[in-house]
């Protein structure tokens, strides 16, 4: 089959995404998509055109066993053979983090759409440091924003089977997990509301060392490596 002709390639991509490209032709096409950039782009464009039509399908709650089986499989995989090298070295991860750029674009779109734009100069910042008081991580969020961004000052070394988990330390309450963070890139964390309210009773943030996948208990289980007070720059 000739995939060289762009119109032909586009027509095949359309049939592939719709599902009418079947059998060996489908397998062959799927293989080519992985190696040919042009085909991959055509497939993505068709997915973007057709998949939104799936939104009209009524949702049906799957039985709980499906989630239990998924969980068993991903935890089983984790308990099994560890990949050589750290998962952080995984290229896929870094491609995933290009998310950040797009999310920024999206945030701008939201600002344009929303009548009340966020004031960019009113920021909450926390500098997290270890015992030697050297700054290790910087977290910031606009006071009306709902996305906290956190980034290490320089890449951190952690074991392949460990993860860094960020915690809000509320006054007189248990630490509340905000999610896992990357030892070398920016991570965006959604807060439960605008930072002003979501972090109102939270004087400081901390990062603990946890097993991969995060604390199994919902509370820090490993040592607290870094912490720092939240400063309000307004």
């Amino acid at each position: 089959m000739n995939y060289g002709n762009p119109e032909r390639a586009d027509a095949l991509a359309a049939q592939y995404v719709l599902g009418t490209l079947r059998g060996r032709a489908r397998t062959r096409f799927a293989r080519l998509v992985r190696s040919e950039r042009g085909l991959a782009d055509a497939v993505l464009a068709w997915e973007e055109r057709l998949m939104p039509f799936a939104q009209s399908v009524a949702p049906v709650e799957p039985p709980p066993r499906v989630w239990q089986q998924i969980l068993a499989r991903i935890q089983g995989a984790r308990a099994g053979a560890q990949p050589s090298g750290s998962i952080w070295a995984d290229l896929r991860l870094w491609r995933g983090l290009t998310l950040a750029g797009f999310a920024t674009a999206l945030a701008l779109a939201v600002v344009v759409l929303s009548p009340i734009a966020e004031r960019p100069d009113q920021t909450l910042v926390a500098v997290l440091a270890g015992q030697d008081a050297k700054p290790v991580l910087i977290a910031s969020v606009d006071r009306t924003g709902r996305t906290l961004r956190i980034k290490p000052v320089s890449p951190l070394n952690i074991a392949a089977d460990r993860a860094l988990e960020l915690w809000a330390l509320p006054q007189g309450g248990n630490p509340r997990s905000l999610g896992l963070i990357s030892p070398s890139g920016v991570v965006q964390i959604a807060l439960q509301g605008p930072a002003d309210t979501a972090l109102a009773q939270v004087p400081s943030l901390a990062v603990s060392l946890e097993p991969r996948g995060g604390s199994p208990t919902g509370l820090p289980t490993g040592p607290v490596l870094y912490s720092g007070p939240i400063q309000r720059l307004f």
């Binding site: 464009a45 039509f53 399908v57 984790r78 991860l93 999310a103 995060g214």
Partner: protein, 209 residues
């Protein structure tokens, strides 16, 4: 055939209001990014927000709950392993997830192709419940949500029917020909022309890329 409990309060994961959609997409992107960091809680939340819609899609195509459950399970394990390969600049999160599920459904169908799939015309294959919308109705309401209703309305009846059955039910060209009682060549050209018109129309409406 049991299809499990229907979602009474579907999360607004599939909200149709554009502002809500932006918010939902941003949320799903963030969850995917955290899933790429092997954050299990983020992954659980992603499942909670999207699994009912994706399961609905799989059930429509496979028409068998055990097979749909298997596809859903495989798909989410794959999402866990490949969340990092999701590139937000290239596709919307729901698009990415639906594509994974549909591709796995189509693989399942292919494995089944040795068996003959008979489609009962009376029943329209929709044994889910009596008032379940037909693929054609889904196509029209899907188009409505996309504000491209005119595009879909402008398709010929045959094109519309063929695209709807292929998309929502995963029918192949030859299954379409049997189901619609038309020569294979006619059905193929309905699908081809229908797709071309959808593309042209979406591009004109600024909805396609």
């Amino acid at each position: 055939m049991s299809f499990g409990k229907r979602t009474a309060d579907a999360p607004d994961a599939m909200a149709r209001d554009p502002a809500k959609q932006l918010e939902r997409n941003a949320r799903l992107m963030e969850l995917l990014a955290r899933t790429a960091l092997a954050d299990q809680r983020a992954f659980a939340e992603l499942y909670r927000l999207t699994s009912a819609h994706l399961y609905g899609v799989a059930l429509r195509i496979l028409r068998e709950s055990a097979a749909a459950e298997e596809v859903l399970q495989e798909s989410f394990v794959s999402v866990w392993n490949h969340a990092g390969s999701y590139v937000a600049a290239k596709s919307q999160p729901f698009t990415w997830l639906t594509s994974i599920v549909r591709n796995r459904c189509l693989d399942q169908l292919r494995r089944r192709e040795v068996d003959t799939i008979t489609i009962d015309d009376e029943d329209d294959g929709m044994t889910m419940r009596d008032d379940a919308p037909t693929p054609l109705e889904l196509l029209v309401s899907g188009a409505e949500a996309l504000a491209v209703r005119n595009c879909v309305e402008s398709l010929d009846a045959g094109q519309k029917q063929a695209l709807a059955l292929a998309f929502y039910r995963g029918l192949s060209h030859s299954e379409l020909a049997t189901h619609l009682r038309q020569p294979l060549g006619t059905v193929k050209s309905w699908v081809r022309r229908g797709l071309e018109r959808v593309k042209a129309c979406l591009e004109a409406a600024g909805a396609g890329r």
